[in-house]
Amino acid sequence: MAGDLGGPVSRSVFSWRDLGGEVALALTARPARTLLTALGTILGVAALVATIGLARTAGNQIVTRVSELEATEVVVSPERRGGFGGGNRNTGSAIPWDAESRLTRLNGVVAAGTRTSVNVGERLARSVPVIDPLGQTEYQIPVIAASPGLFEAARAQLLTGRTFDGGHSERGDPVAVLGPAAAQRLNVVRVDNTPSIFIGEEPLAVIGILADTARQPDLLSAIIIPDSLARARFGAEGVEEVQIEVAPGAAPLIAAQAPVALAPNTPELLRAAAPPEPERLQRGVESDLNSLFLVLGGISLIVGAIGIANVTLVSVLERTGEIGLRRALGARRSHIAAQFLTESVALGAFAGILGASAGVLSVVAVSASRQWSPVLDPWLPLVAPALGAVIGLVAGTYPAWKAASTEPIAALRGSA
């Protein structure tokens, strides 16, 4: 009666849908335990996501702050001299008076202008020719000599009138532009009639009043006069500094070239201050934050993986009876392994999602408290669950193998 010997025998199956269903039931059977098992991985992923996110956010903050104004600025000033040259005032500055035209020739310079504080000695400024003995009409107001390009290089905005140009400079015209604070003290409100002011006995025609300036803030409270006038009438000796506005990204180049352009023989006497390179600064901040917290995050991930491995291994031992039953119901070793491995991978992925959410929330919370705009790499919320899944895979491999090698007859013998 062995006629049907060797007839087709179907192999047992375990569909993807059933695998998913069994895993979902296993993980939701004890929610608190599932959560606790995942806790280490949740914390690890959260720490990593928060670290990367905060480093990005802080780095972006630095870039934003620097790039607006400072990244397009170079300031050249004479190197501070040592004792031997300190008193040598006669030689003036290492910066020539034609600095502006030398610098605007350079590629990458948007605008450049010299500025020099003028020592007016005892001379006070006033807006009326006759001294009124009853009220105060004379003031000590700083006087700054400028080349025409300074206004643009300082991003000055006019309230009214105009600034002086190359023609005024060449002719040494007695003109002045007032900072808003100076205009207020001198009681000058309009310039259409070119009102006169006096510095000591020197009359100056006011041709413009500034509204504001982005750089060189002391212009706001000063009387600004052409540098040629300052040399001729007020004894200005040498350029104090050159303000340069450069094209975005050109700052390092111009900082290197400007001293040579200004003083080809003695560039070492000049100091060009460029902003710190934002990217390098950003990288610096990121690596500082990262190296510390990535280590912490990595450690908690390892702890998390050990946590999953540990609990999964315990649950394999607890579920010996279930494993035996499943084998009796037709499960193969590979089906048992697939189930336990999928459980820990799903647990890890779940931990990754929760951890990423917690990490993102903490980045947003910290940013809000600092009034930063949070920056998150778009791949982070996608990679985090994958990272969790990989942790689950690593952690679940040994327990799954252990479960698969459980002998069904031994497993069923128990009284579970």
Binding site: V9, E322, G330
Partner: protein, 228 residues
């Protein structure tokens, strides 16, 4: 038609150490619709024989044909397929999953069976109804009495419509009254044509079977009709 079970000189030696010859040169034929009780003292080899019949273990000698198929030449996946489709187990310890409902416990028997998706819940409900638990579908086995739990386990063994049900001390964890109820269920299933092999210590349980065999020190022998 082939008999459901044909054992031909089957032996099982556990290599040890110490080496144990748990079953020795056993010959057994179980025809369709048979109801066989295996009795014997503890450690005599009853469970060993049942595990061999259930394809959970392989004999170290002899041949075992299930429905005429020589199981010795089958691969593990094929043997697992036969376990899923042709064999129903009932254990002393029930082996129900406490976190799942009764009907889900029964449905588990169809997870690994080829074609086991079709009408799975419906067939599980029918199986529970056939053991008299149609009113306890969604409850949890932990809320059931021992006798009811064993009936859920019997429903799980029946749902795949196996060729044979193997029960290892099914009343070992039950008191005598619930034992009797479970055995009445077995009688009823036998009456419907089911093939059953049951291991037991209990003479009352053995007395209900159509025929009895004894294992002593791994030797399987028939018990004469008068010895019941």
């Amino acid at each position: 038609m082939s008999p459901v079970v044909e054992l031909d000189g089957v032996g099982r030696v556990f290599p040890g150490p110490p080496e144990v010859e748990a079953l020795r040169d056993a010959d057994l034929v179980v025809e369709t619709g048979d109801y066989l009780a295996l009795v014997g003292p503890s450690g005599s080899g009853k469970s060993t024989l049942l595990h061999l019949l259930g394809l959970l273990d392989r004999p170290t000698s002899g041949t075992y044909r299930l429905n005429g198929i020589d199981t010795g030449v089958l691969s593990e996946p094929e043997r697992a397929g036969l376990r899923a489709s042709e064999i129903g187990f009932v254990f002393q310890a029930f082996h129900l999953l406490g976190q799942r409902s009764n009907v889900e416990n029964v449905m588990l028997a169809d997870v690994y069976r080829p074609g086991g998706r079709r009408r799975r819940r419906q067939r599980a409900i029918e199986a529970l109804e056939s053991v008299g638990l149609g009113h306890r579908l969604e409850g949890n086995p932990t809320t059931l009495s021992g006798g009811e739990r064993q009936r859920v386990a019997v429903a799980r063994a029946l749902v795949s419509e196996p060729s044979i049900v193997l029960a290892d001390e099914p009343t070992g964890n039950l008191d005598s009254r619930t034992s009797a109820a479970v055995m009445e269920l077995f009688d009823e299933l036998h009456g419907r044509g089911l093939t059953i092999v049951v291991i037991t210590h209990d003479d009352d349980v053995a007395g209900r079977a159509r025929r009895r065999m004894r294992i002593q020190d791994g030797n399987l022998t028939a018990i004469g009709a008068g010895a019941a």
